[in-house]
Symmetry: C2
Subunit: 354 residues, 2 copies
Amino acid sequence: MATGDNQIRIGLLSSSNIVRKVSRAINLAPNATITAIASISISIEEARSFAKSNGFSPTAKIHCSYESLLEDPEVDAVYFPIPASLHVEWAVRAAGKGKHVLIDKPVGLNVSEFDQIVEACEANGIQFMDGTQWMHNPRTAKIQEFLTDPVRFGQLKTVHSCFSFAANENFLKNDIRVKPGLDGLGALGDAGWYTIQSTLLANNFKLPKTVTALPGPVLNDAGIVLSCGALLEWEKEITATIYCSFLANLTMEITAIGTKGTLRVHDFVIPFQETEASFSTSSKDCFSEHKVVTEFIQEACMVIEFARLVGEIKNRGAKPDGFWVSISRKTQLLVDAVKESIDNNLEPVFLSGR
Amino acid sequence: MATGDNQIRIGLLSSSNIVRKVSRAINLAPNATITAIASISISIEEARSFAKSNGFSPTAKIHCSYESLLEDPEVDAVYFPIPASLHVEWAVRAAGKGKHVLIDKPVGLNVSEFDQIVEACEANGIQFMDGTQWMHNPRTAKIQEFLTDPVRFGQLKTVHSCFSFAANENFLKNDIRVKPGLDGLGALGDAGWYTIQSTLLANNFKLPKTVTALPGPVLNDAGIVLSCGALLEWEKEITATIYCSFLANLTMEITAIGTKGTLRVHDFVIPFQETEASFSTSSKDCFSEHKVVTEFIQEACMVIEFARLVGEIKNRGAKPDGFWVSISRKTQLLVDAVKESIDNNLEPVFLSGR
């Protein structure tokens, strides 16, 4: 797609595999385009071939360093498909150069890193968004409608969310998600991030008062979480349980139970079908299946929303939107709290004041 | 149905509401019949009218006391729809009179009461069964086939089970399930019994090594559990979470995740339809819906199995079958353990040696 006047110009920091998915999404988004890629681990020729095979415009620039991409005046925003341990350095630098940031989860290795990124964004009028795609699926808005409906759902009592997949031997040895120096939060920062965000969604993004890791976490030799569960507790005995794992069959469930209704989602992270997503609800004796047909795949919906917010700033002088930062920070806080509870013999962690 | 030679003659201890469901089941079971009812809270006329409206044979006897029913030579077995606090006394007496026993959950107020009942059964060659109906639905056998399939399911990693219903104000004030002197285990002994038995089913009826109640239990003024959760842990980091409640919308879920497959059941306690029950499974990328058509409703399946076992003893001199006792005792042990953990500030309870 040619660069339109109103398209947000996105630079990709790295040419790792995840880039394929997001670059497809950017290509699909009418309000965004890829104008540059920084590739430090492959040759210029390989990068050019990668760009071509992923449908980048022939005018997209290839940078040989991250610094160089951040200096590019034809880049409005940067997507960070790099290990979490590098996020804080490069996101702060990007913000300093006036680039808006779209950062994969986990945003930081802890909330202190998260806050450094957000401070840099605030200081420079930068839009921040984390790359949690399912939150942008139109189905999620429909789910939220049900969960906030006092007649169909009532008041949340409990929610259970799990996301697991059975990683192969190679993943469990070599993936960045099991390496302490890279994505040091393991299954918790990856699969767990989604489950925690879904429990926040179920309780209208209210932070719980305590988080307690459950017995039975599995850690690898380097101390990285491969599988764990946790209990979140809000006021009025409202609870959530989460389970995340690299060691169990692919499962992506939300079961939320209110005083008057129940929600069930079987594929909340990645819908079984790209452009039609379903969920079921029951209220009293009435069981309903809901299908939400979407014009765009959910990762394109994310890019469209990000580019829209960046466009508001770039073209209309708006201030950065705080909604996504707020949800993302709460998620990071809770991920941290589960890790802290695991490290402290499953003691409860109190969130008050954090 | 007339009393056939091979039909097991069942006496009902009480004419409470639950009797309607089980007496219908006995009427449907070809190998059982109702020959007597003991009614101590209503008049003979009312009892006769109750017997008629519930399809009892006109020859069914009305007893004015439990003792009298237990003396009746035309009663082979007794069903106990009476509060749990009365089970130990009357089940031990029934066993002493040579009557086989079918006892609603919770069997005892604690495992010590349970063991008194079972000892009396063993001493008198009596068949014991608890009245957990869903375990006898043919769907449950199909579910178990999937859960024990090394190719489709692999090794269990975690299972989540919840059973909740929103009890009305009258129930929460007056039902025997919220009264300390009656069914003193509250939601745990009722809804929780099912969830615990389903987690045992998922792990091939192996007892976990620890049980820990989760933060957020809700107790009424008399200390009866109205809602709670728990974590069960087996060897090799296999875990289960349960949630049971009288305070949340009707939900009856099992989600079991293995290394190779996932099971989902949405109506495990009482199937949405009486004679067709479904569940879904996924193994790798293959998602399947399974429907199990049943000739008999699940409560009739339970009666048929109970009467079959009693018949083996009565007509063929067999010994009582130990399978159902074993599952039932494990369930009672775990119910006790959750209660103990709640009473002990959510400390883990170790099951070893119990």
